[in-house]
């Protein structure tokens, strides 16, 4: 039975899961959710995610939401293949992967998401003007987080160690969009962060996903 992922290819959280599915070569179907029509707030979708957010996943009897729980499930389900994004065989490596997944979740995303929201969502989807004060405050916070990353990446090639993991993957979609804004300089100004970004964004699995991250593109 094929996995069904409910969401949209241009959404950061849906694409995070898509990247993971592609890394594992998993078969799945992307079922579009019509956000403009508010489909995600209708009873049929709320039955999948009561918080009314994309993505949601169905795999047989299992329904799951929260993108990071979904990507972890995919990685656990397909472990034993040549792809190993959780390092499950080594408890200490696995713990470091989980730590840097938490860092992405608790430190990185809260700092970057207001920049994404103000720079891309507000003008494109709401036809409004970005709130520069919010952007500036967030850029300052993101800079401090990236300073920690710059230091960490001087002692290991990737965030949790010398191996690519879900911790790195979870950063892909927000950074991809950041690079479309002037705030991409926050990445470019930090040589190790920049090299890490160039490495992880050149992975074939991500390139498949990047082609769908079209918010902000001029037609």
């Amino acid at each position: 039975m094929t996995i069904k992922l409910y969401g949209v290819a241009m959404s950061t959280c849906t694409a995070k899961v898509l990247a993971c599915l592609h890394e594992y070569g998993a078969e799945f179907e992307l079922v579009p959710v019509n956000l403009q029509n508010g489909e995600h707030k209708q009873p049929a979708f709320l039955a999948k995610n009561p918080f009314g957010q994309i993505p949601a996943l169905e795999d047989g009897d299992l329904t799951l939401f929260e993108s990071r729980a979904i990507s972890t499930y995919v990685a656990e389900k397909f472990k034993g293949s040549s792809c190993d994004l959780l390092r499950s065989q080594n408890p200490k490596e696995a713990a470091l992967v989980k730590t840097w997944m938490e860092v992405e979740s608790q430190q990185f995303s809260p700092a970057i998401s207001p920049i994404f929201y103000q720079s891309i969502i507000v003008p494109i989807l709401h036809g409004g003007s970005p709130n520069q004060a919010i952007i500036d405050e967030s850029a300052a916070k993101l800079g401090k987080v990236l300073d920690v990353y710059e230091k960490k990446l001087s002692s290991s090639k990737y965030l949790a160690g010398d191996f690519y993991s879900l911790a790195d993957l979870h950063h892909l979609t927000y950074i991809y969009y950041l690079m479309k804004t002037p705030y991409g300089k926050l990445i470019n100004e930090r040589p190790r962060v920049k090299a890490w970004w160039e490495d992880i964004s050149s992975r074939p699995a991500f390139k498949k996903v990047a082609s769908g991250l079209t918010l902000g593109d001029k037609n």
Partner: protein, 214 residues
């Protein structure tokens, strides 16, 4: 070997870790970090936690930070000791993860901001933002409505057993109920109330509360 836990015993994120260690009967030593004195931003502490936040742990040579990563590590390391906090099957574990993510993304920020405005800032002699507190409270009502619906179908968030998903909520709900005067958010919802009653009466949590009151 004793696990060293860096952080104040009264703070929420260290309590998340301590609750887990007590559930698993793991010996620990608390190394107090004085947040008011800014100990967590000093170079010594930044070696343990580069973002300058509590908690951090040291277990022999092994160091970790981020409370939710720490509890996942110990729940896994001592999987066969004490209660199973992770779930058995792949699907059960995914549901535990899902509700841990809910706590982190849909619940925690609202509680944090509410407690900051109503409790922490006034304790420091500063003015809290009551409009922000009210907004957080209104959003929390909606989140608790979803929890109420979920807990009418199962005794605990991810299923029929207590797991990390429930444990992760213990410190935040305690703050809401005991310090912020927001107990009605829990007591007005039958299933949430029963769930809180159960999880706050677990021996490990009660032991932590005892230790924290000294």
């Amino acid at each position: 070997m004793v696990v060293k836990v860096y952080g104040p015993i009264k703070a929420a994120c260290p309590q998340r870790v301590l609750s887990c260690l007590l559930e698993k009967d793991v010996d620990f030593q608390i190394l107090h970090i004085d947040l008011d004195a800014g100990d967590h931003k000093k170079p010594d502490f930044l070696l343990h936690q580069p973002f300058g936040q509590v908690p951090a742990i040291e277990d022999g040579d092994f160091k970790l930070f981020e409370s939710r990563a720490i509890i996942r590590y110990y729940a896994s390391k001592y999987e066969n000791r004490g209660p199973n906090l992770l779930g058995n099957t792949l699907e059960e574990r995914a549901l535990v993860d899902q509700w841990l993510e809910v706590e982190a993304h849909n619940f925690n920020d609202l509680v944090y901001n509410l407690v900051l405005q109503l409790v922490i800032l006034p304790r420091m002699g500063k003015q809290g933002d009551s409009a922000l507190a009210l907004t957080c409270q209104q959003k929390l009502e909606k989140v608790f409505d979803i929890y109420e619906q979920r807990l009418s179908a199962s005794a605990y968030l991810s299923g029929d057993s207590f797991t990390l998903a429930d444990l992760s909520h213990q410190p935040g709900i305690r703050y809401l109920v005991e310090d912020a005067g927001m107990g009605h958010l829990v007591s007005q919802r039958k299933h949430v109330n029963a769930w809180w009653d159960t999880i706050s009466n677990r021996p490990a949590w009660k032991k932590l509360m005892e230790l924290a009151s000294c």
